[in-house]
Amino acid sequence: MKQKIKIYILFTICLIVASLLFFIFLKNIEQYNQSGPDYTTHNLNAEYNLFVDKKYQYQFAYPKNLNSNITNNPNIKTPEIESGNDIAINRAVSFMQDNGGPWAISLFIYKNTRLKSIDEWFAEQNEFYKETSAGNVEVVIEKRIKIDGADALVTYLNSKEELMPYNYEKTTIFIKDEVLFELSTRSVDHQKIWDSFKFIK
């Protein structure tokens, strides 16, 4: 009799433990399906979702109708890497418009940036366009703002051969803890994106 009770108790404990483990397993799968290994998206309100990057510790709101595309270690800026300037994009986060594109929000992250300031980024960009476009294209500073306390430059490209300015497409630059953020926005409410951008611990 005592033996039977012991078996029942043991069986019950095993059942509880197995259930707990199974529950945790299911939870992990569910979490993985809704996000990547180190980023998640959450519903914010009727119009926006919140993108949370746990690896680089920031978050911002993006329009619900956009489709996200996150790439780690993308080899996009090949010329800069090959030139030995040691500039490598560590993460590219882009949000494409409906029907597959084009992009509406783009964030390039460079960790351990060798740039000392956002003004140094501005100078280097203009040097780059001076070479590639024979001086036809230049980067223009529209204004200086704060992104969650970090100094930021709002810029756009200006083409001397074009009649219309490209100021609808803005690239906002800021540096936090030696991580350079290049946040480009178009066809969206720029101010909403800037105001929602927060660094997280």
Partner: protein, 195 residues
């Protein structure tokens, strides 16, 4: 004897003439499709790009686009500027693309000299149907103007070489023509004619 000598002389004169003609066509005739660095000095004061056939100009543009994409060259954070640099490279800086009009989907063809023409897309309703590889399409994608070079078109699927469709990347992209018209009903197509 005299007659035989005349025949021999006539034959040798024509033979030499044919050889000279052959040499002329070898060195001048068709030009090189692969040389991106052809010097304009070779043709003195003429615009060699403008003197090519349209299919040759289109080929130069396609080769230039492929070169830019393969090596990720140019101002690839700006689709229009990138296309302009592709054309400038293809033509050894003898042709360029005119500015976009404020509506975002036409080019201002009023300048001189003019290196582009709007294509004739009659009897199609939409210009995209009439494009051939090497033509350039100016379009509105939602509220964003966009420029892309046509690389293929079989009236069902169209493919482009373009920059900044994906952020700051130049690449090829294909889509069905029906999908293209749905996403960019306001578009116009142009051919680079040089001058």
């Amino acid at each position: 004897m005299k007659k035989r000598n005349l025949i021999e002389r006539w034959s040798s004169v024509h033979l030499v003439g044919l050889m000279v003609l052959g040499m002329i066509f070898t060195f001048i005739g068709c030009g090189s499709e692969d040389d991106f660095t052809v010097s304009s000095a070779q043709f003195a004061s003429t615009t060699w790009f403008g003197n090519l056939s349209q299919s040759q100009r289109n080929s130069y543009i396609l080769n230039s686009a492929n070169y830019f994409i393969t090596n990720q060259l140019g101002s690839d954070c700006n689709c229009k500027q990138w296309a302009r640099e592709v054309v400038q490279n293809a033509s050894s800086n003898q042709a360029t693309i005119p500015p976009t009009t404020p509506d975002g989907w036409h080019w201002d063809l009023s300048g001189q000299p003019q290196d582009a023409q709007q294509i004739n897309f009659i009897p199609y309703r939409y210009p995209i149907y009439a494009t051939v590889p090497g033509n350039i399409v100016q379009m509105m994608l939602g509220s964003s103007p966009h420029t892309a070079i046509v690389t293929s078109n079989n009236l069902s699927t169209v493919c482009f070489a373009e920059a900044n469709y994906t952020p700051c990347v130049s690449a090829y992209r294909c889509q069905s023509i029906s999908s293209f018209i749905s996403s960019a009903p306001n578009h116009m197509a142009y051919v680079i004619t040089g001058h």
